[in-house]
Subunit: 153 residues, 2 copies
Amino acid sequence: MPKFYFEDFSPGWTVEFGPRRVTREEMIGFAAQFDPQPMHLDEEAARHTMLGGLAASGWHTCSVMMKMIADGVLLDSASMGAPGIDEVKWLKPVRPGDSLTVRGSIVSTRASQSKPDRGFVNFLWEVFNDRGEKVMTLTCPQMMMKRNAGAPA
Amino acid sequence: MPKFYFEDFSPGWTVEFGPRRVTREEMIGFAAQFDPQPMHLDEEAARHTMLGGLAASGWHTCSVMMKMIADGVLLDSASMGAPGIDEVKWLKPVRPGDSLTVRGSIVSTRASQSKPDRGFVNFLWEVFNDRGEKVMTLTCPQMMMKRNAGAPA
């Protein structure tokens, strides 16, 4: 049984997950499989790119974050999934060995117009490295079951 | 040397990549590592979710698409990377064994105001399954070097 339902999320709610260290081997492994651009794959080639050295694929950072928020809150919630992503910003490179922290907050919530048993929670997820730099932000609407389906919220 | 520069991309440009088959094993492997929600991880548990059966993590679909567009065009281009993603829509579940095709087009381009050697190409990527259903769309600004740095474009 979920611990958290739509009614449990509102602006003011915050969480923090991590730290989660991302290794060079993981970064290169993800890049080889999914994003084989030189700045994600090879230290020497990466030096000649705009990032000035090896950095995680932005998709890898998204995926690592996803695991942290799934373990941290979504698997304990009545989440039904997300219809998409509103926006992702990759602000700073994630470097080999960086330890990432995720801070979650809520931009807004709204009950579904068409389905009285659920609503949408618009999360803002911010990812920081261990130097206190914000490396990524992501906003995402998450569909959540209501604890009391049919009740206005 | 890149084959394609900023000047080579303009509205009207289109490409198509694939098909790329996504197996059940891959889906479950990605989910276990990055997105361990029941609808992505376990056939039986997935049946009781809104998706009605096992489906790929949306992040997995993004990552598979990334590999297709890297191999298909970005690695041959003067791409410097992307500052983020404007929007992702997950429209239909990607099922085990689906073969994905990616269609790329260009929404708009603009020269950088501050840096005369580069510009932004705003791509629309649409992903289809082998039943002709659109499963995902993604819009993303890609930073590209100009062939003729300093020339207006």
